[in-house]
C-alpha cells in the first residue's frame, strides 16, 4: 500500500516536474545561427517627432519567418513594438499616434531587439520574457516548449527628433517663392496701369441676361453654393461670384434666395449679399431671411432646395460651389421649372451633369476666375495673368519631359535619361 502510494506520489510529481520543464525557458547565450541578422534604426526624417523607423536585411532562408520587435529605454522599461511581422517586410515604424500620443518620446534613447521565429510568437513566452526584464534580452537562443526563438543583438541608442524644416518639401518652397514673385510682378504691372486682357467666358456674359429676365418675369434669383464649407476653395470662389451676382440683383431691385448647407457658409453668404447690396446703394432691399439655412444632410439639402425651387419658381438658378451626387438632382429640377441655369464647380465627376442639364457651365478654373471676370479690376486681372504665365511654364515642363523621355529612353542617350530621372524625382513630393 505504502509502495503504491509512494509510486503514485512519484508519478504525480514527475508529471508536475515534466510539465514545469515544458513550460520553462532554456536559454543558450550567444548561440545564435543568425548572427548576421541585425536590426538598424533611425529617426524618421522631416516629421514632427515621435517616430522611429527600424530596418533589417534578411537572407532568403528567413523569408517566411516571423519577427517580433521589442524596445527598451534607459530605465529598462520594455515594450512590444510589433509582433509577428513577416521578415520579408524589411521594416517597421514605431510611432506615436492619436491613440498613443506619447508612445515614442523625442530626445529619449531607445534600444531595439528582435525575436526571430519560424512560427508565430508564443504569447506566454513573450510575457515571460518581458516580466524577466531586459537582462534576459541578450543575443542568443531560447527554447520554450516546442518552439525555438532567436534573439538578435540590440541596436545602438536611437533617438527620435522633431525637425524644424521638412527638407523633402524644398521643391515646393522654391516653386512657391517663384510663383509668389510672378504674382507680385503682375500685381505691380496692374498697379502701374498696364491694360490686361481677359478672354470671353460664355456663362458669365449670360449673368446680366439671367438676372434681367428673372426681374422682368417678376421671379427671384436662386443661388446655390453646394455642400462645401468655408474652408473649401470652390465654396469661397462661389461666395465671391455671389458678391458680383448680388450686386446685379440689387441693381435690378429683385430678390436673391441663397439656401445653404453649412451654417458658416450661410453667415458668410449673408455678409457677402449685404455688402453687395450696400455697394449698389440699396441696403434697404437686403433681407437676411432670404439667405437661409436648410440642413447639413446632403440629400435633405437636395430635397429642401428642390422643394423651394418648385414653389418659388426662380427665373435664374446659379449653382456655384462644391457639388457631389446632388448636383444633377438640383440641376434637373431647375431645368424643369424653366430657369436659366448657370453652373460651375471644380468636381470633375459632377461637371458632365451640369454640362448636360444647365444652359452654361463654368469648368474648373473658369469658375475660380469668374469673380475677376465679373469685376475687371486691374489687380484681379493681374492675378489671372500670373496664372497664365504659370500654365506656359507647366506646358514647357511637360514638353521638355516628353522630349527627354523620347531621347533618353527611346534613343538611349544616357545623359538625357538621367536628366529625365532627376526631373521625375524632383516632381515626387
Amino acid at each position: 500500500m505504502l509502495k503504491k502510494t509512494l509510486l503514485l506520489i512519484f508519478l504525480v510529481f514527475s508529471v508536475f516536474l515534466f510539465s514545469q520543464e515544458n513550460d520553462s525557458l532554456i536559454f543558450l547565450e550567444n548561440q545564435n545561427p543568425f548572427l548576421d541578422f541585425k536590426l538598424t534604426g533611425n529617426d524618421i526624417p522631416n516629421d514632427g517627432g515621435g517616430g522611429i523607423q527600424i530596418n533589417w536585411c534578411f537572407p532568403d532562408s528567413l523569408g517566411n519567418w516571423f519577427l517580433t520587435v521589442l524596445r527598451r529605454d534607459d530605465s529598462n522599461n520594455l515594450m512590444v513594438v510589433a509582433t509577428d511581422l513577416l521578415v520579408s517586410s524589411m521594416q517597421v515604424r514605431d510611432v506615436s499616434s492619436e491613440e498613443e500620443p506619447s508612445r515614442v518620446k523625442d530626445n529619449t534613447n531607445y534600444y531595439y531587439t528582435g525575436i526571430l521565429s519560424q512560427n508565430m510568437i508564443n504569447e506566454q513566452f513573450l510575457n515571460k520574457l518581458i516580466s524577466n526584464g531586459s537582462e534576459y534580452l541578450k543575443n542568443g537562443t531560447y527554447i520554450f516548449g516546442n518552439d525555438t526563438f532567436y534573439i538578435t543583438g540590440e541596436t545602438e541608442a536611437i533617438v527620435s527628433k522633431s525637425s524644424w524644416f521638412n527638407l523633402s518639401r524644398i521643391p515646393v518652397l522654391v516653386s512657391l517663392i517663384i510663383i509668389a514673385f510672378v504674382f507680385l510682378y503682375y500685381l505691380n504691372l496692374a498697379k502701374s496701369g498696364k491694360d490686361l486682357y481677359i478672354r470671353k467666358i460664355n456663362g458669365l456674359d449670360a449673368v446680366e441676361e439671367a438676372v434681367g429676365r428673372s426681374t422682368e418675369m417678376g421671379k427671384p434669383i436662386m443661388y446655390i453654393l453646394g455642400i462645401g464649407y468655408v474652408t473649401d476653395i470652390p465654396t469661397i470662389a462661389g461666395l465671391t461670384i455671389l458678391g458680383r451676382v448680388a450686386k446685379k440683383v440689387a441693381d435690378y431691385e429683385t430678390r436673391i434666395l441663397v439656401p445653404s448647407y453649412d451654417p458658416v457658409v450661410m453667415t458668410t453668404a449673408q455678409e457677402v449679399v449685404k455688402e453687395a447690396f450696400t455697394e449698389a446703394g440699396r441696403p434697404d432691399l437686403y433681407n437676411k431671411n432670404d439667405i437661409m439655412y436648410i440642413t447639413q444632410d446632403q440629400f435633405g439639402y437636395a430635397a429642401g432646395v428642390d422643394g423651394m425651387m418648385m414653389r418659388e419658381k426662380p427665373g435664374a438658378v446659379f449653382l456655384q460651389g462644391l457639388f457631389f451626387a446632388e448636383s444633377l438632382i438640383l440641376a434637373e429640377t431647375g431645368h424643369s421649372i424653366g430657369a436659366i441655369q448657370i453652373s460651375g464647380t471644380t468636381e470633375t465627376a459632377q461637371l458632365p451633369f451640369f454640362v448636360a442639364a444647365c444652359d452654361y457651365t463654368l469648368i474648373g478654373e473658369e469658375m475660380m476666375a469668374a469673380s475677376v471676370y465679373l469685376q475687371k479690376e486691374p489687380m484681379m486681372l493681374g492675378s489671372i495673368a500670373a496664372e497664365d504665365l504659370l500654365k506656359v511654364f507647366i506646358m514647357f515642363l511637360i514638353i521638355i519631359g516628353f522630349v527627354l523621355s523620347v531621347l533618353g529612353y527611346g534613343f538611349k542617350i544616357e545623359v538625357l535619361k538621367s536628366v529625365f530621372d532627376w526631373l521625375i524625382n524632383l516632381l515626387q513630393v
Binding site: 514632427g48 476653395i233 446632403q298 471644380t346 479690376e377 484681379m380
Partner: protein, 212 residues
C-alpha cells in the same frame, strides 16, 4: 476701427500665412496646425449651427403663424425637428448615448433619414436619363461627342457590351485611361492654379467681398 474691414483682413492674412508656413515646419505646434484648424472650424460651425437653426425654424415658425401657403408642412418640419431632439435627449438619459443600437433615436435615423436619403439619391437614375435625352436633342458637336462617349463607356461596362464586340470593353478602358485621363489632368492643373489665384487674392486682401 473694429467696424472697418482692416482687422478682419489682417486676421485672414495672418492666419493664411501661418497655414502656408506651417506646411514646411513639421515641428510642434506647426506640424499639427492643419488638424487643429479643422478641429476649430468644426467648433465654430457647431456654434454657428444655432444661427442656422434659428434661421430655418424661425422662417417656418413665421410661416405657421401667418398661415402662409404650405404652413401645415412647415409645422411638420418643426415637429420633426423638435421630436428628434427630444427623443435624442430622452435616449441619452436612458442609454447614456443617443446613438445606442436600441434607442429610438437610432430608429429615427434608420427608418426615417436613411430611406429618405437613399430614395432622394436614387432619383438620379431618372434624372440621368432625362439629362442624357436632352444631350441627345441638343444636336451640337460638344453634346453629341459627350453622348457618344457616354454610350460607349456605359456599354463597355455591362455584359451586353462584351456581346456586341469583345473590343468594346477594351476600348472603354482605353477611353478611361487615355483621353479621359488627359482632360482630367488638364482640368486638375487649371483647378490648382485657379485655387492658388483665389487664395492669393484673398490672403493679400485684393478680394474682400466676403466681408461687409
Amino acid at each position: 476701427m473694429l467696424k472697418g474691414k482692416g482687422i478682419p483682413i489682417f486676421i485672414t492674412f495672418l492666419v493664411g500665412m501661418i497655414m502656408i508656413v506651417s506646411f514646411f515646419i513639421p515641428h510642434k505646434p506647426f506640424g499639427d496646425i492643419e488638424k487643429i484648424s479643422l478641429n476649430w472650424y468644426s467648433i465654430i460651425a457647431g456654434f454657428t449651427m444655432l444661427l442656422g437653426v434659428d434661421s430655418l425654424i424661425g422662417m417656418h415658425f413665421r410661416k405657421v403663424k401667418r398661415k402662409d401657403e404650405n404652413w401645415f408642412f412647415s409645422l411638420v418640419l418643426i415637429f420633426g425637428f423638435v421630436a428628434t431632439v427630444v427623443v435624442g435627449i430622452i435616449e441619452t438619459v436612458r442609454f447614456g448615448t443617443a446613438f445606442d443600437d436600441k434607442s429610438y433615436f437610432t430608429y429615427i435615423y434608420n427608418y426615417f433619414i436613411v430611406p429618405l436619403q437613399t430614395t432622394m439619391f436614387s432619383l438620379l437614375a431618372f434624372f440621368i436619363a432625362s439629362a442624357a435625352y436632352r444631350a441627345f436633342r441638343a444636336r451640337n458637336f460638344d453634346a453629341t461627342l459627350l453622348l457618344i462617349t457616354a454610350i460607349i463607356v456605359m456599354l463597355g461596362r455591362v455584359p451586353l457590351g462584351e456581346q456586341i464586340s469583345p473590343y468594346l470593353p477594351k476600348f472603354t478602358e482605353w477611353i478611361m485611361q487615355v483621353p479621359q485621363m488627359a482632360a482630367k489632368r488638364g482640368i486638375g492643373l487649371g483647378i490648382s492654379l485657379g485655387a492658388l489665384g483665389v487664395s492669393i487674392r484673398i490672403i493679400l486682401g485684393i478680394e474682400r467681398s466676403y466681408l461687409s
